[in-house]
Subunit: 320 residues, 2 copies
């Protein structure tokens, strides 16, 4: 949640020379996205977001991300539309970084999602998955089982600083998940980071899906598992089954979940818990002392993980 | 340049219940101002900035800051207008902090000001000084001579970490300035932090003056000295006399500088250099390691200080 790169006015104006967007009316760094530097840009022609891709984003992935936004917006999903320059290109360089201008989406992230929000999310996620089916560029999920191994190696020797015994527990959990991880569920493009921060609403109407910079190809139901964790738990880390039911039934009404996907949900949700626990743990152990951004508590995800491990099946999420 | 406080949607909506601003359309943390948390807020009724006052701002000063914006906007200066709630109050609390909504101003800060920008600034600063004459609340300048003494005490013992001999040089400079500091120049409300960051332009037209949170009562010409330092030096720390002349002649055309003010300018500019050098030095020595915000180089202001010490008089700034 920070602007990493400052953009000078002269550099901005030179950059905008490649577009047909009129005169600049406002330009402000905004606290949106954690991987990149984002700016609110208003011109005579409208409102936009300018993104500078920082080093955590691999430039080789940018055609996937930009192409995906184009692809999804074209079928009517409320995603940002990449703006093309006069040369037809949506990507160029600014301040020695890859940069793109995308359309501005109205709306606000729900920090405390309601049942109605979860339902709207379920619809949109299923539409996203269906729309991604004919997107041609592929990107593997670097934060799936193999990626977790790397994160474990980087964190477990110090995990006990957070909670005694955590390192050993994580290794045991990983061993189980790696052995049982499903390989044959329906695949496609997933968002992989569909937290409330990345979804805008105006009232209860979903108005925007943003931040596609973890999107990749993986099991579609894994995306749903990520959303159960991110949207359906209360602040005391208990599952709100009404929210989970709303999310899953809305999803299922647009894209029917197979029996195998339903059966796999608790395992996928354990994996989704481990994935966010590990990246949070890494940030927790490695954040610079005194930095303005407080890292998120990794143990929230430990509690989610334990919940998913303790249930009998997807009926615990309210699925019939 | 950071959002310090996150605002939850529920808390925002409850807060907005005290206003008649319609429904929220967008809400984003923005990188504007260094003392407070600022948010871009759009509703059915228009666009606003929501400010949460963080602990570096004394709540007792808020009626001065809010009243000053009201006062200046009322006479047509392009300042933010504090928005009053249904109870008539412009100040209330959010997230346990004082908070206010002010109007949104279009425009962009010139990171590399032109001669035309300096001229527009000179006009606006003089109008600001004239308009402040009948503002009734007073606020002393805590960052004048007495404040410098406190900053010296907090920094000079470590100043040599930045440059060998700097601590001694700063003490000597302070002694000279404290002895010679003028007490009888025309007084009034000064902005005291009129850096390009705090002035918006659309093209060459000045469209906004923001961030009044250092404003106070002091010698008016001291404000002009701050602007010479902030607007008229090039990146190699040399004075651009064309810019200084444009700033000063535009100012003088709206509010005539007295002979005493002209004569005092080099001394005031030395003081203004010392003031920003000392706060930068404090931040440099005390910023948390690895923090996202890189502190500004205090030595830029040492070079400005030496320049002002070496000149014969205000003619070096292009004043006839």
């Amino acid at each position: 949640m920070a602007v990493y790169t400052l953009v000078e006015q002269d550099d901005l104006l030179e950059f905008l020379g490649a577009y047909d967007l009129g005169n600049v009316i406002a330009f402000k760094g905004i606290a949106e996205g954690v991987e990149n530097s984002n700016f609110f840009l208003e011109t005579d022609h409208g409102r936009y977001i300018l993104t500078l891709y920082e080093k955590r984003v691999d430039p080789a992935d940018l055609p996937f991300f930009i192409g995906l936004m184009d692809h999804l917006a074209a079928v009517g999903l409320p995603c940002p539309i990449p703006i093309r320059g006069n040369d037809g290109e949506p990507l160029r360089r600014l301040n020695d970084r890859p940069a793109a201008i995308i359309s501005f989406l109205k709306g606000m992230s729900p920090q405390r999602p309601t049942v109605a929000h979860c339902s709207a999310l379920g619809h949109a996620l299923a539409q996203f998955h269906k729309a991604g089916a004919d997107f041609e560029i592929k990107r593997p999920n670097s934060l799936s089982v193999k990626g977790w191994r790397g994160l474990l190696d980087a964190t477990t020797h110090r995990a006990d600083e957070v909670k005694p015994g955590l390192g050993e527990d994580l290794e045991a959990e990983y061993a189980e998940l790696a052995a049982a991880w499903p390989q044959d569920l329906p695949q496609g493009v997933i968002h992989a980071d569909m937290f409330p921060d990345n979804v805008f609403f105006i009232g209860e109407k979903l108005s925007g899906l943003i931040d596609f910079y973890f999107a990749c190809n993986d099991s579609l139901a894994y995306d749903l598992a990520i959303c159960i964790n991110a949207w359906c738990f209360e602040r005391d880390n208990s599952l709100n089954i009404t929210k989970a039911r709303a999310l899953l039934t809305a999803y299922d009404s647009v894209r029917t979940l197979s029996a195998a996907e339903r059966d796999a949900l608790p395992l996928l949700a354990r994996g989704a818990s481990l994935r966010f626990l590990l990246t949070r743990l890494f940030d927790w152990l490695n954040h610079p002392e005194g930095a303005l951004v407080t890292p998120k508590d990794p143990l929230e995800y430990w509690q989610r993980l334990r919940f998913h491990r303790g249930i009998e099946g997807a009926s615990a999420y309210g699925l019939d």
